[in-house]
């Protein structure tokens, strides 16, 4: 941008997104990815045994504090990682400022909602007692 442009510095940066948060986004994407390394191994092996489980065995499995904790961690970290990741994809492909902002906010709301619903479900199963 030429230095003798008539546009004010504020006018130039408006709509380009907040400053000072790019590094944070990068770091949290990596931190959540790091946390997901052990969680993913646990999750995949659990997932593969799920089709063979009926209601009684599935809830009994999730009523162990270890499984419940790992499942809640997996849900929370995954949705955090997913919302950051999908945000980058939207930023790359959605060009209109309004639509871009709206889709990013929508993705973050949906991810937060799903993370809470998933967590509450695990807690309900956990304290549901002997089913």
């Amino acid at each position: 941008m030429s230095s003798n442009s008539l546009r004010t510095p504020l006018g130039k940066v408006k709509g380009l997104g907040s400053a000072k948060s790019g590094t944070h986004h990068f770091l949290v994407q990596r931190l959540t990815a790091l946390a997901l390394i052990p969680l993913t191994l646990w999750f995949c092996f659990s997932l593969a045994s799920m089709p063979a489980m009926d209601y009684a065995s599935f809830t009994a499995w999730l009523q162990s504090p270890v499984s419940a904790s790992l499942m809640i961690l997996t849900v929370l970290v995954t949705f955090y990682h997913a919302s950051l990741g999908v945000q980058v994809v939207i930023e790359d492909y959605v060009s209109g400022h309004g639509l871009r902002l709206a889709s990013i906010i929508a993705v973050q709301f949906v991810c937060a909602l799903l993370a809470v619903v998933g967590t509450v479900s695990v807690i309900k199963i956990l304290i549901g007692g002997a089913a």
């Binding site: 990596r30 990815a33 790091l34 997901l36 390394i37 993913t40 999750f43 995949c44 092996f45 997932l47 593969a48 045994s49 799920m50 089709p51 063979a52 489980m53 009926d54 209601y55 599935f58 809830t59 999730l62 499942m71 849900v75 995954t78 949705f79 997913a82 990741g85 999908v86 994809v89 799903l114 619903v117 998933g118 509450v120 479900s121 695990v122 309900k124 199963i125 549901g128 089913a131």
Partner: protein
């Protein structure tokens, strides 16, 4: 008209054959978005299990059908690919393996490890269940 612009061009995606590094890069993105969509099913299963035996029976019927197994196997394969390539990404971030020679070795390694982990996971599950 002859093309006489000497400046480098970006590859024409319908003509240029993507090298493995580029294919793996876009696959990381596709699996990332696909896995994000797949998490909907996880929440569905958890909600169903929290709601009671009847609703969970539906989940179990879907998961244990052949199409359910197919989806689950594809999901674990996509997750293991993204997992291995994600580790590759983070090694790049700390400056390891960023040269062309290394990426030509780690690319196929990602594919092989992802496949091995998927097969291992389902072998263990079928042996146990």
């Amino acid at each position: 008209m002859a093309w006489n612009d000497k400046r480098p061009m970006s590859p024409h995606l319908q003509i240029y054959k993507l090298p493995l590094t580029a294919l793996l890069s876009i696959t990381h993105r596709i699996t990332g978005v696909g896995l994000s969509a797949g998490t909907l099913f996880l929440v569905w299963a958890l909600v169903a299990a929290a709601s009671g035996p009847e609703s969970f029976a539906t989940v179990q019927a879907v998961m244990s059908s052949w199409i359910g197994y197919l989806i689950l196997i594809c999901f674990t394969l996509a997750l293991y690919f993204h997992f291995c390539n994600g580790i590759r990404h983070m090694l790049w971030d700390i400056g390891k393996g960023l040269d062309l020679e290394s990426t030509k070795k780690t690319g196929p390694a990602v594919l092989i490890v992802a496949l091995v982990l998927t097969v291992l996971t389902w072998l263990v599950a079928f042996a146990a269940g």
